[in-house]
């Protein structure tokens, strides 16, 4: 399986604090991979480096063979990496459909002059943007909320709007930052189905950060474990679960526990 995302030697420092220390990570084409680790291990920092919000101090990030570190977030999104946020970052005062339409921005072209003159190109594009946004809301299972203000939707629906918005950018890799946070068990079961549909039906690879181990073990084919900014283990669910370093990172050493 060719790697879609290849990260090698990724390091990040804030002042004197080393947040990431030579992290290697790969996500294969068509894979569902997870990044796990205790609180403060640096998972979200990895995401922020990948998506261009943080500039790593060293290391390389390649998406489909192309080096993307140092690029601005909007350019990385255009190259095919989309994300959701740990704490929902919807445009709360805009409708659900307008939120999803944001994802189409980087795949469309009409400018201010097209808009003012209402050129045929602009009208065609507007129609397509709305139709596609509606399709993405339907894909995540909430077509009925499209005109409702995003901030007023139930939490689980807001999460889905974020998914739809990210998928609307037509990514090849979708990064999900704690997609299960705040969801009940029924919603988490739906989430597993949705992750698989994204990969199987859309052919989009998925990398997720998650705290719910049940969910991680159920959905991921490859797991990378971080602790204190270093990779301490990787492999499939069974291998990671039985790795003594992982157990130590999560539960502490046996003598500590006593």
């Amino acid at each position: 399986m060719a790697a879609l995302l290849e990260v090698s030697g990724l390091s990040l420092s804030f002042g004197g604090l080393r947040v990431l220390n030579g992290v290697d990570l790969a996500v294969g084409k068509g894979a569902i991979a997870s990044l796990i680790g205790p609180n403060g291990a640096g998972k979200t920092s990895v995401f922020n480096c990948l998506t261009g919000f943080y500039r790593p101090s060293s290391g390389s990030i390649r998406l489909a063979g192309r080096r993307i570190n140092g690029l601005a977030p909007h350019r990385i999104t255009r190259l095919g990496m989309a994300r959701t946020f740990q704490n929902l970052r919807l445009f709360r005062e805009l409708s659900a459909i307008e939120n999803v339409m944001a994802g189409r921005h980087c795949r469309t072209r009409a400018g201010a002059l097209d808009a003012i003159l209402e050129t045929p190109r602009h009208r065609r594009e507007e129609r397509a943007i709305r139709a596609q946004a509606e399709r993405w809301l339907a894909f995540v299972g909430i077509p009925e909320v499209s005109e409702q203000m995003a901030g007023t939707l139930p939490y689980g629906h807001q999460r889905r709007v974020e998914w739809a918005r990210a998928l609307a950018t037509e990514p090849s890799l979708l990064l999900l930052d704690e997609p299960g946070a705040g969801l009940n068990s029924a919603e988490k079961a739906d989430l597993v189905g949705l992750v698989r549909r994204v990969r199987d039906e859309l052919d989009v690879s998925v990398l997720l950060i998650e705290h719910d181990m049940g969910l991680v073990m159920q959905v991921s084919e490859h797991i990378t474990v971080l602790d204190y900014g270093r990779k301490i283990a990787e492999g499939n669910a069974a291998a990671v679960q039985s790795d003594p370093r992982v157990i130590e990172a999560y539960l502490g050493r046996e003598e500590d526990a006593l």
Partner: protein, 315 residues
């Protein structure tokens, strides 16, 4: 929203509403038939401020950026018209495209350095920019120094010399209508949505592939163009312009119209512009106290309607 409304790009646009607009425009167009020069003068100024407020609304309302130096763009337009006609001896109509270019450059000059700034810092820089432009035109020879430019020739359109207040009533009414249409179309377009995304959550917008710097620059440039085109016709109407028209107070007055009416909401902004022009006129009888009465009314409005008289629904 129905498919037809989407195609028109006008959400909620019904036949009844279209009819209402036609009747309103016909009524406004009929005004010079019976109104005296005083009313025409006040209303022309009102239409002019509608255009300015709509332009500033792109920056302040749609994109959520503060701008305390907006009069500078108005000055760019007015002085471009003055220089093009008086100094270069060219047709007034040439000043329109030239002022659009000049305003775009001015928009980039003010927008570029301020892209990383937020709220209070942005306010200070834009205020400084406004003063810089005013002080520059006050001291340059080409802009006529403190006395400004006098004797700007009034333009001719299809053989009709625009030299009466009635003519300028129509000019500014037309500009205001064009401003409304352009604002409305921008608001419901890809770029208009991008302004709202950036206003709502800049990082989330960037993660969606939106170049926030370009989007903000576009807001400054488009806002500047509104003011510059208005400024050209202002110069033509007044035939004389001086730096003291483009003070900080002028910027503040335009901002007041936007905030008072309801930033981000086009009908609100129109209302705000009308209020700032017509209110002081209504209180003329109060004599020297009229600005005090005006100020108290503004305070009351902001106290009871903090988001503006006619706000965008979410604020």
């Amino acid at each position: 929203m129905s498919e037809a409304a989407v195609r028109l790009g006008r959400p909620g646009w019904s036949i009844r509403r279209a009819l209402g607009v036609v009747v309103l425009l016909a009524a406004l167009a009929a005004v010079p038939g019976f109104a005296n020069n005083y009313y025409l003068e006040v209303l022309s100024e009102a239409w002019f401020y509608v255009l300015l407020c709509l332009g500033l609304n792109i920056v302040v309302g749609f994109a959520g950026l503060l701008d305390l130096g907006y009069a500078a763009f108005f000055a760019v337009g007015a002085y471009t018209a003055g220089i093009v006609t008086l100094r270069l001896g060219l047709s007034f109509w040439l000043s329109l495209p030239i002022s659009v270019v000049a305003a775009s450059i001015a928009g980039v000059i003010i927008g570029g350095p301020t892209l990383r700034l937020r709220s209070d810092y942005l306010a200070i820089v834009t205020l400084g920019f406004g003063e810089m432009v005013r002080i520059s035109v006050r001291n340059l020879a080409v802009t006529g120094g403190a006395s400004g430019l006098v004797g700007i020739e009034r333009p001719t359109l299809f053989g009709y010399h625009l030299d009466s207040i009635g003519a300028y009533y129509y000019v500014f009414l037309l500009l205001a209508v064009l401003g409304v249409v352009a604002s409305h179309r921008l608001e419901n377009s890809r770029i208009g949505r991008a302004w709202k995304y950036v206003r709502s959550d800049e990082d989330a917008a960037r993660a969606m592939g939106i170049n926030h710097a370009m989007v903000k620059l576009a807001a400054y440039i488009l806002g500047a163009i509104f003011a510059a085109i208005g400024g050209c016709f202002y110069a033509a109407k007044m035939t004389a312009i001086s730096p003291e028209t483009f003070t900080f107070n002028q910027s503040l007055l335009i901002l007041l119209g936007v905030v008072l009416g309801g930033r981000g909401k086009i009908p609100g902004v129109i209302l705000g512009a009308l209020v700032i022009v017509i209110f002081p006129e209504l209180f003329r009888d109060v004599g020297s106290m009229r600005m005090l009465v005006f100020a108290i009314s503004l305070l009351l409005i902001m106290l009871f309607r903090p988001a503006g008289i006619w706000p965008e629904k979410w604020r």
